[in-house]
Amino acid sequence: MTAPAIELVGLEKRYGDTAAVAGIDLGVPPGAFLVLLGPSGCGKTTTLRMLAGLESPTAGEIWFGDRVVASSGRGVAVAPGKRNAGLVFQSYALWPHMTVQANIEWPLKIAKWSAADRRTRLKEVMDLLSISPLVKRYPGEISGGQQQRVAIARMIAPRPGVLLFDEPLSNLDAKLRVETRAELLRVHRATSATSVYVTHDQVEAMTMATHIALMRDGRVEQFGAPDDLIERPETAFVATFMGTPPANVLAARVVGGRYLRGQIDLGPAGTPDGSDVQLMYRAESLHFTETDGPRRVVLEYAESTPLAGRYVVSGWTDGTRFSVVTADLPTALLGQRLRVLVPDRADRVFDADGQLIDPAPAPSAGHPRR
């Protein structure tokens, strides 16, 4: 097994009493595309900035290959420019007083490339990103999508071993976002660098990542391959954050060996009586029904979204958002009550704190481990 290209060991960043990053341990192999995913304020950007060297950790270490680039214990803090890493800022941070060409070339100048090498490389990256016609323009004179490409070109020009992206697509329109996503992956492969990408968009994460670290409150909630997070969520938070639509999680209590949600019986329990649990059901495990009986949850209809030839029907059940995938476009009206039949075994069972108790059924045929 190759040594990790990037490794975080007990990484922490505190501002006074609050911890923006509260201890992260993970590592990815060379060539990996690591996505730091999570809601805003979860510490993902702070982590990225520590990787870039723009912030110093208050505890822990960062390793790039076999080189420690930041360590509070050893007093190591390699300067951002000496880490062989490039960063694309959310704002792009193109220098407004430099032309596109100067923006791309200046870092090479700092790195003491010869004029001939600079020109060759400039042409290479501009061709790679199809921005050659913009060479003499100022950043204020080109569109947002073009600025984005220039920012990427500027980052990869010095051939960094680590590419860092701070929500680079958040300022682009949906179509451009999808195109640029593919573009970024192409660049990532073309450079054979290791990438770290920050986003709050789980679709972006799913499509690009080889590894996802889903963060929450400064900690890594779950780290793994994209399908791990979808298929084997380890916490209720992961279950409700990942997937389109995300999985449903219903609170229930064990009474007489059965899961009860209020008066509704949700099937036989695997945990002791009196314990509070959260039951996870995938949207595709649920069905609408007209009949009465146990395991029927009432859904107050809110909306439906077409998705790959089927429909995601969403609504609320006692304040919990709930989604069901069906083949037919429902004719329900806003607020109408629909009955949903849940399977007799939940796809996953979490405790009251959201930690996994029971992985439940072995992965079904529909979800093979890749």
Binding site: T2, G60, Y92, H97, Q147
Partner: protein
């Protein structure tokens, strides 16, 4: 499989693994480490520039005669006359100057930057000129026109024509405030213009989309963004108004209208040094109260980063029916504050009889050879080698101080903006850079003689050298340079520097390639302010100048006090020409320095 399997807990190789707990918490970004050094260095330089003179002031007032002076000033029969009444006069003048200058400067800035007023380039150029005129020039011009016969002697143009102005128009608070407003509004104009130019049209359009009226958008969106500049300029104008010496000396002193600074000047010039220093310290204390409340206001609003890596647009407000009336108002402002006083000065330098436009004109005071019939045989100013020499020294001094103060001001602005801690360093730099403008120029000059007039360690006595003028000038103009450095740097988004740091650029390189080019407009404006302030300054240099280092303003002052009004006015015109030329050149330079800014 290595790619997809979640890596097991990291292998604990040699040296790897959970590191020992940090002995000291490393806070802060990587940009900071060199900044801390820069901050410390800046603090030291400022300390050396500012603290010894202040310490000199304090030390003097703590000696026995100083204690007596404190009693005289604060708690004796003399106090009312010596301090309390002048204090009220100073505060009234400072307040009026601050309000008037900010309102006038803000209006002109808005008109020039935000609207489609015709001829606004010219209005903008003319609005910057009063600051280039020495403040005694406007006072002299006022006197030339409005002086009445209350104290006898020569009268002004109006009285000469038979229209005797009332006392309140000739002397005291009104004319002093009016001349100071006409002088300092252009300072507000410069500062607010720079801030307004950075307001992104999106912000305002978003307000209009929300259904706000134009007035509401201006009040709720543009105003908060430029408020730091407005507060800063009001603060500067207040400090200048309170401590100005030339205007109250010319328009108040003759009728015994005293301010703290004229009292201070009187005390020092009559040898009551300790009493003068006590007054200086009190003046500092008064201004400090204003300063601290204002920094608190400004501090909370520090981080409006408005230059980002994304392009912004600017949009003009169409004035519609208000176009002509508002433009007319703008024209009136520049007429009254610039063109009329300049014409009066110029005309009176050609007038045969002092302050009279009816007694015929002559070019003698400019180019005349020595003629016993005129001015006791003195040559015209352009033929006078002393004046030519003084002009060269003045320009050299202005340039040297502008460069020194701007470099310092950039360092101060950078450290204050980017170094979010350690608080004591930032606070110290902030306070040190503001302190000098609480010290009246004349007191600062005296304090510099006291400190640098004798050798200190390896430094020889500097009195009478060019160096002491540069050092004193840098200390004196530091607040201006620091203010412009601060607002210039605050408008550059930290991203832009961080991306340079990612490219491996060190602090020096980021300064020269990112910070300076992007803040060039503000820095250049600040440098010109400093240059102009030095070229036309009298109060600071009047005590420091020796025959080896003649300066135009001192020569003017000598002529004026000896009664040669035409010579004085002629040299004042020369000073104005130098300053105005600098201002215009700076405008041109700004255009070529920032080709990426669309205009």
């Amino acid at each position: 499989m290595a790619l997809l399997a979640p890596p097991a807990p990291p292998e604990t190789g040699p040296g790897r693994g959970r590191p020992p707990a940090s002995r000291w918490a490393r806070t802060g970004s990587a940009l900071r480490q060199p900044i801390v050094l820069l901050g410390a260095a800046t603090a030291v330089v400022l300390g050396v520039l500012v603290l010894p003179p202040l310490a000199g002031l304090v030390a003097t007032t703590l000696r026995p005669e100083g204690i007596t002076a404190w009693r005289d000033v604060l708690a004796s029969r003399l106090s009312e006359n010596l301090f309390y009444e002048p204090l009220i006069n100073s505060l009234v003048i400072g307040g009026a100057t601050s309000l008037g200058a900010t309102a006038l400067g803000g209006f002109m800035a808005w008109l020039v930057v935000m609207t489609d007023a015709p001829g606004k380039r010219w209005l903008g150029l003319l609005a910057m000129i009063p600051f280039a005129l020495p403040s005694f020039a406007l006072a002299l011009a006022w006197e030339t026109v409005f002086r009445n016969d209350r104290i006898g002697g020569r009268v002004g143009v109006l009285a000469d024509l038979g229209l005797m102005p009332p006392d309140w128009l000739s002397w005291g608070a009104l004319p002093i405030s009016a001349t100071l407003i006409a002088h300092y509004y252009s300072l507000s104009f410069v500062l607010v213009t720079a801030a307004l130019a950075s307001v992104n049209a999106d912000l305002m359009e978003a307000g209009e989309m929300a259904g706000a009226t134009r007035a509401r958008v201006a009040r709720s969106i543009a105003l908060p963004v430029v408020l730091p500049a407005i507060i800063a300029s009001g603060l500067l104008a207040f400090a200048e108004g309170v401590s100005n010496f030339a205007s109250p000396a010319l328009l108040g002193l003759p009728v015994r209208f005293q301010t703290v600074s004229t009292r201070l000047f009187g005390a020092i010039s009559t040898g009551e040094t300790a009493r003068g220093y006590v007054l200086a310290l009190l003046l500092i204390a008064v201004a400090a109260v204003v300063l601290f409340s204002s920094t608190r206001l400004l501090g909370a609003r520090r981080s409006y980063a408005t230059i980002t890596g994304k392009g912004g647009r600017r949009r003009q407000i169409e004035l519609g029916a208000w176009r002509l009336p508002l433009t007319g108002l703008g024209v009136l402002v520049v007429l009254v504050t610039t063109i009329v006083p300049a014409s009066v000065l110029l005309a009176s330098s050609f007038s045969r009889r002092t302050n009279s436009f009816t007694g015929g004109f002559t070019t003698h005071f400019w180019v005349g050879a020595s003629d016993p019939a005129f001015a006791q045989g003195q040559r015209g100013v352009l033929r006078n080698p002393l004046v030519v020499d003084a002009a060269i020294t003045t320009i050299t001094l202005g340039l040297a101080v502008a460069v020194t103060a701007t470099v310092l001001g950039l360092a101060v602005g950078y450290v204050i903006t980017r170094l979010r801690g350690p608080r004591p360093v930032v606070g110290a730099i902030s306070i040190l850079s503001y302190l000098p403008f609480l010290i009246p120029g004349i007191a600062l000059g005296a304090a510099f003689i006291a400190q640098f007039g004798r050798p200190i360690g390896p430094i020889p006595a500097l009195y009478g050298t060019f160096a002491i003028l540069v050092i004193a000038g840098a200390a004196y103009t530091l607040p201006f340079a620091a203010q412009s450095g601060r607002s210039a740097v605050a408008q550059i988004s930290a991203d832009l520097e961080e991306s340079a740091a990612m490219a491996g650029a060190g602090l020096f390189r980021r300064m020269t390639r990112i910070v300076v080019p992007l803040s060039a407009r503000g820095l250049l404006a600040g440098a010109v302010l400093v240059f102009v302030k030095m070229v036309r300054d009298l109060s600071l240099v009047v005590l420091l100048v020796t025959p080896a280092t003649p300066l135009l303003s001192v020569v003017t002052y000598r002529y004026a006090s000896e009664g040669f009004a035409q010579f004085a006015n002629a040299i004042t015109v020369i000073i104005a020409v130098i300053s105005v030329a600098a201002t215009v050149a700076a405008q041109r330079l700004q255009g070529t320095a920032q080709p990426w800014v669309d205009r």
